[in-house]
Symmetry: C2
Subunit: 332 residues, 2 copies
Amino acid sequence: MTIDWIGVDWGTSNLRAWAFDGTGRPLGPARGGPGMGGLAGQGAEAFETALVAALGDWLDGVAEGVRLPVLVCGMAGARQGWQEAPYLDLPLPLDWLGAGALEVGTRDPRIAVAIVPGLAQRDPAAPDVLRGEETQILGFLAGRGAGAGQGAGMGAGMGDWALCLPGTHSKWVSVSRGILRSFRTYMTGELFGLLAGQSILRHSVGGAGATDPEAFAVGVREALAAPAEVPARLFGLRARHLLFGEAGAAARSRLSGLLIGQELASAATWPGGPAPSAGVAVIGDDSLAALYVEALGIAGCTPETVSGGTAVIAGLAALRRGRTEEGPKCAN
Amino acid sequence: MTIDWIGVDWGTSNLRAWAFDGTGRPLGPARGGPGMGGLAGQGAEAFETALVAALGDWLDGVAEGVRLPVLVCGMAGARQGWQEAPYLDLPLPLDWLGAGALEVGTRDPRIAVAIVPGLAQRDPAAPDVLRGEETQILGFLAGRGAGAGQGAGMGAGMGDWALCLPGTHSKWVSVSRGILRSFRTYMTGELFGLLAGQSILRHSVGGAGATDPEAFAVGVREALAAPAEVPARLFGLRARHLLFGEAGAAARSRLSGLLIGQELASAATWPGGPAPSAGVAVIGDDSLAALYVEALGIAGCTPETVSGGTAVIAGLAALRRGRTEEGPKCAN
């Protein structure tokens, strides 16, 4: 078992690293480490030290004079991260991403680190940025339609996609034939956390343990029917508790349904967004992604789904193929 | 100068008390005291002690065997307050409010305390509650159209009103001919505080000191034009900072404009709300109320305005008239 290169997803809250063989397959499970958030402001050395510690004995077999490629995506490339990997602009053919990675010098002579850049949408009417999701998107597309000889998996037959990546800040991304054309960020997850945990609603909304699927569906339907009325419905969760004794689990799920439904109503009518005929996919496999799939179903849409882990591994492999002429072109 | 009765506005964050003469005019400026929030859970004695301390030498001249009427509105009547004054239901003729005040026993023999009830909208599709604003609303109406012989100032010619009471939780209230028919609560102020102070936007939104009126107007216009798109614009404030270096004051004002504009767009199309011909008024005189007046102007509406202090004093006086047969009917 020879390690050919290492791929790292370095987010705000944690680091996950995979050792890959020469065909682009991970050799085993991920190794973990500290997120960018805990290291921010501590300088490049702290990032290098944390990375080398996470890789551990994967570096033991590296021959003298050889540097093992380490490809890093995620917030490690943000301004507060290891080193800023400047944003690439849209529209962007996704198979250019690997070549755009920023090489970062290290004191450890066994690794050659490159950080994947984020993307910037410099439209003054809808400015936006993303960092990390580009790799999952690439992985989703590579896993869907890549055939032999299609480079990083961006075959011409890939069609149009509206990709939803749920999270604290969810992203909706319009991709057409392998070109990332535009995207939007919704602060839905953060907004939910603030309203449920910090606002007056905290007295009426139950803890994260219990959920109420029917109340979630009611919230989604209310928001889809009248998205601009959602701000008028939030305090109703408190009033429903005070006047009718509504349970905390119901209030929590209804709040979640209102906010996700509001996001879907907006994402469905996105000026300059995906074509109405575009396929819809949700990238993610946690409980939040499941809520988005549920809400999309209520909206009459059956999205494709792929797990976030699968997408990021496939994305790192596609990025690696994009960085090396001698890499296999047909592995998937 | 004889004190005939005392009126108290006892909110979450502070207490204000006025001594009134027999014609319903305050004899001087308010005296202050601690808000309900700081006393919650400490029992009735703590509330009585705080009230008596705030009234101070106003109670010195009370004759033996006489109890000076003290009329209290606001959160002191909430479940966590002095004693819960149960909600009255809608629709409610506002001149019934005074008679509905809850008498509260005290150990101090010099005062006879009554707490004004809040209002409940028990519509399962739009449940809502308010407490404190009812007094300001009554005061606004009393100050507008009261003529001699019209009781608490609810003359039949008072017409239809859409009243906006800005605050942490703003209220929009539909009043028709002195009857409070329905209302809505928007958490706009609290949402602004959470987004500006706690969310990822805090890195891009400036402090409370500086404002940018033009950026506020842009936000209002964007929200009025496409209220359901506001959730898609919030993260744009961060992106605009990262990509274009937008100043913190502009981001703060734009956020404020987006959220207030979103509220106005919803309040303008309120099912079961005020008639389109209803007069619009903003009750409040702080900087937040000024922003609402500004935003309403951008929406093409020129509201009447009254200061919150004027409204609550007039409201307490109207409530007092509603509680006493022998009180003057024509004072204003």
